[in-house]
């Protein structure tokens, strides 16, 4: 059973990884699109989170905003995920040791668990509080966790490059 480090070193030695890493254009372009993908994910989910906190679009039903916003959050996520995998392949060998990269992976798991809990619990009864300005405590807690975790992911993501320097 090869260790994770060996897999990362093998990935890093492939033609594909070397190509992205050493190309003067591809790495920056993929990175730029990755950043804009994050913007689509975090910015759209922030609108829903801020509505859950009763800060914006107070007259709109929560479920209505969720329906309008979430498809674009997922589209942004797809862009972010694909470009993120490409960047990870390019820097597999260095990222293995990068603590910012490790923290980011843990945060990404947490930020995925958060909406899972939200949708399976308090959001199931959304019709009872759809128009409320002050949403249930658990909904507000989910919104704050989401905003906080995504902010940390952006910080950790930027730090990867600082740590690698």
């Amino acid at each position: 059973m090869p260790s994770l480090l060996h897999i990362c070193e093998w990935v890093s030695a492939t033609h594909f990884s070397t190509f992205i890493r050493e190309s003067p254009y591809w790495f920056p372009i993929i990175e730029g699109i990755h950043t804009l993908g994050i913007t689509a994910v975090v910015g759209t989910i922030a609108v829903l989170d801020l509505r859950l906190l009763g800060l914006i679009m107070k007259r709109e039903p929560v479920s209505g905003i969720a329906r309008q916003v979430l498809p674009w959050t997922w589209a942004g996520f797809a862009v972010m995920f694909v470009t993120g995998v490409l960047l990870s392949i390019a820097e597999a060998a260095t990222n293995y040791y990068n603590w910012a990269f490790r923290i980011k992976l843990i945060l990404l798991v947490l930020v995925g668990i958060n909406p899972l809990i939200f949708h399976l619990t308090v959001y199931r009864k959304v019709d009872t509080w759809d128009l409320a300005n002050v949403t249930p405590l658990r909904a507000r807690a989910a919104a704050i966790s989401s905003l906080f975790l995504w902010a940390c992911i952006i910080v950790a993501g930027r730090l990867i490059a600082y740590v690698n320097m």
């Binding site: 730029g32 950043t35 913007t39 975090v42 910015g43 989910i45 674009w72 952006i154 910080v155």
Partner: protein
């Protein structure tokens, strides 16, 4: 060169020296710039998608433009201030950076173009139903401009 001499003068200021020499200042301001970008970018995307009649079709375009204005305007203000601080870390270096020049030009165009579009729409009273082809074209241009500004911004660090 008038602009270049301003940049040279700026490079001598205390704040510029602080941004350049302090260990974490640049990284902290840069992360703040990115966090504001995330909020701003998502809000701009949703406003323009409403203008294109793709999202929030049940709400009037004016209402969406009005309600998301705090996010787009607030985001752009934070980005402008943090961006200015980042620029102060190396005014003369950035003056010569082609990606930075392109970004500034595109930003000034997008700033006026997008916010005139959003504020004008926000002030409309009766606009139920579909948006005009002009507004749709404006939304496409706005998205295109902000997208290029994002890529140009990333390119500053590479050229």
């Amino acid at each position: 060169m008038f602009l270049l001499s301003i940049c040279r003068w700026l490079a001598e200021t205390h704040i510029s020296i602080m941004m350049r020499d302090a260990t974490y200042d640049f990284a902290i301001v840069e992360v703040g710039h990115l966090l504001a970008l995330a909020v701003f970018g998502g809000a701009v995307l949703l406003v323009n998608l409403r203008f294109l009649d793709w999202r929030f079709k049940k709400q009037p375009a004016s209402q969406v433009a009005r309600e998301l204005l705090p996010l787009t305007a607030g985001g752009v203000i934070v980005m402008l201030v943090s961006g200015l601080l980042l620029f102060l870390a190396g005014p003369v270096r950035y003056y010569h950076n082609p990606a930075f020049r392109l970004k500034v030009i595109l930003f000034v165009i997008a700033l006026f173009f997008h916010f005139i579009l959003q504020v004008k729409t926000a002030r409309q009273v009766s606009d139920r139903g579909r948006t005009s082809p002009w507004l749709k074209a404006g939304a496409v241009l706005s998205l295109l401009l902000w997208f290029m500004i994002g890529l140009a911004g990333r390119a500053i660090g590479y050229v």
